[in-house]
């Protein structure tokens, strides 16, 4: 099975994606991750203003069959949370790189972006 891995973003080895625009990063989980989890029924996310530390847990995504921790792919401050996931957690399955985004983060100076995987590197990890 082949999974979508958009070239315009970076990936953590824990299957989060990061799309950066002018010092802000949008964060979600990959197509591979949503497929592994199955039907997502609940997403627990931090609040605006919370600080994220790379590789530390920042939330939880629950599918019918499993609970999975979310790990921060970057260092920064949460500036927006996708409230739509509260009522429609299935957006994570339906559109993981679009409507199923989770957070927006104002990147810290030591954002840790350099430690993330390119699309090619991530593709290698999941294949």
């Amino acid at each position: 099975m082949s999974f979508e891995v958009p070239e315009d973003r970076k990936y953590s080895s824990e299957h989060e994606w990061v799309e950066t625009t002018d010092g802000t990063a949008r964060v979600g989980i990959s197509d591979f991750a949503q497929d592994e989890l199955g039907d997502v029924v609940f997403v627990e996310l931090p609040s605006e203003g919370d600080e994220l530390t790379q590789d530390e847990e920042f939330g939880v995504v629950e599918s019918i069959k499993a609970v999975s921790d979310l790990y921060a792919p970057v260092n920064g401050t949460v500036t927006a949370v996708n409230d739509a996931l509260e009522d429609q957690p299935e957006l994570v399955n339906d559109d993981p790189f679009g409507e199923g985004w989770m957070l927006e983060v104002e990147l810290a100076d030591d954002s840790g972006l350099d430690e993330l995987l390119t699309a090619d590197e991530y593709r290698e990890q999941i294949e």
Partner: protein, 363 residues
């Protein structure tokens, strides 16, 4: 440990199923999505490969006595082709397994067929043969688990679907009745039983016909994931999770299946259970609904409103039908009434919950 494989393991893999270890078996957990499979069974029909369930045949002149002494329900009530749900208990009345006991037609080699849970077939075969020898009974006990596949076709459309494929009538079978029916020219034990809360059939198929019979049903293939959400919505027990003789020993009264215990029969555990019946139980198996957002899972603590631990969740999920978080577990009897407010500790956060009647789905 090498996992046991259902006969169609590789066929399922080819259909894109994902697998999980269950009771020592490598079983399909999901074919499409749990939600889609669950909905198919509630609204139309789905087929499950449940070949991990054990099959043990018991025959001979003392077959009835052996079955009566090792299961809690009254085997003498079973006519030819009848079946019932029953418990297998030890001397202390602890549930070792739950099972369906079928009484077979009189032209078959065996008198009874019973279906232990995944991974229990060898243990139950040994239990039956050991007691047969100890009691000096004249009975044959054969573990035929590896000779058969077992399928469950479940859902409101299942009767018509199975009738279309069967060579012979099946819709004349009442609930818990069974008979031999030919599918694709092969005689299969077919009973109007199942564990989803829907109408349907369980079909025990000789291994050599496993693929042909599976492929003859044109409906949604379903994995153990949907089987679990379906049975949870009904409040049905899962062996190894809602009771476990080693890790969470429970008697049938605590587990809410006291109706399967017939104290006017003689069976292993009867005397202990008579005492439990007279004295009542300290804890009860209940339904729990989370009021706050979150999902309760196996092993999470149930607390009172002051956060004192009073019990434990044994099964939990987001109900695909209700779109609400539901759970099953044990609480002290004084907390067991529907509507009682409790809390469930979900990963360190105390979530408001209420005791609920089961089945969670009402007709």
């Amino acid at each position: 440990m090498t996992l046991r494989k259902p006969p169609l393991r590789d066929v399922h893999a080819g259909e894109g199923a994902t697998f999980t270890e269950f009771g020592g078996w490598d079983m399909p957990v999901e074919f499409d999505s749990i939600k889609a499979e669950h909905a198919a069974v509630r609204e139309e029909a789905g087929i499950f490969d449940v070949s991990h369930m054990g099959q043990i045949q018991v025959g001979g002149p003392d077959a009835r006595e052996l079955m009566q002494k090792l299961t809690s329900n009254d085997v003498t009530e079973l006519g030819r082709g009848d079946s019932h749900y029953s418990m297998i208990t030890d001397e202390e009345g602890t549930i070792l397994d739950d099972t369906v006991v079928y009484r077979l037609p009189d032209d078959e080699d065996a008198e009874y067929l019973f279906v232990p849970n995944a991974g229990h077939d060898e243990q139950m075969h040994r239990r039956w043969t050991d007691h047969r020898d100890e009691w000096d009974l004249d009975a044959t006990v054969e573990n035929v688990t590896d000779e058969y596949a077992m399928y469950a076709v479940q859902g409101p459309d299942a009767p018509d679907l199975v009738a279309d494929v069967a060579d012979g009538s099946v819709t004349d079978l009442s609930k818990f009745d069974g008979k031999y029916v030919e599918f694709d020219g092969v005689s299969c034990w077919t009973a109007r039983t199942g564990y989803t809360g829907e109408d349907g059939f369980e079909i025990i198929v000789p291994v050599e016909a496993a693929q042909a019979v599976w492929e003859s049903f044109d409906c949604q293939p379903c994995g153990l994931g949907a089987r679990d959400t379906l049975r949870m919505e009904m409040g049905f027990l899962l062996s190894g999770q809602d009771f476990d003789a080693d890790e969470d020993p429970r008697n049938p009264y605590e587990a809410g299946v006291g109706w399967t215990v017939k104290l006017d029969t003689e069976f292993v555990g009867r005397d202990a259970l008579e005492g439990v019946d007279a004295e009542g139980t300290d804890e009860e198996f209940v339904g729990i609904k989370l009021v706050d957002r979150g999902v309760a899972r196996h092993g999470y603590d149930v607390t009172d409103t002051d956060d004192h631990v009073i019990g434990e969740v044994t099964s939990g999920t987001m109900s695909p039908t209700l779109n609400e978080p539901i759970a099953l577990g044990y609480v002290p009897s004084e907390y067991a009434d529907a509507g009682t407010v409790v809390r469930v500790m979900v990963r360190g956060q105390s979530k408001k919950a209420k005791i609920a009647n089961t089945p969670f789905l009402s007709d």
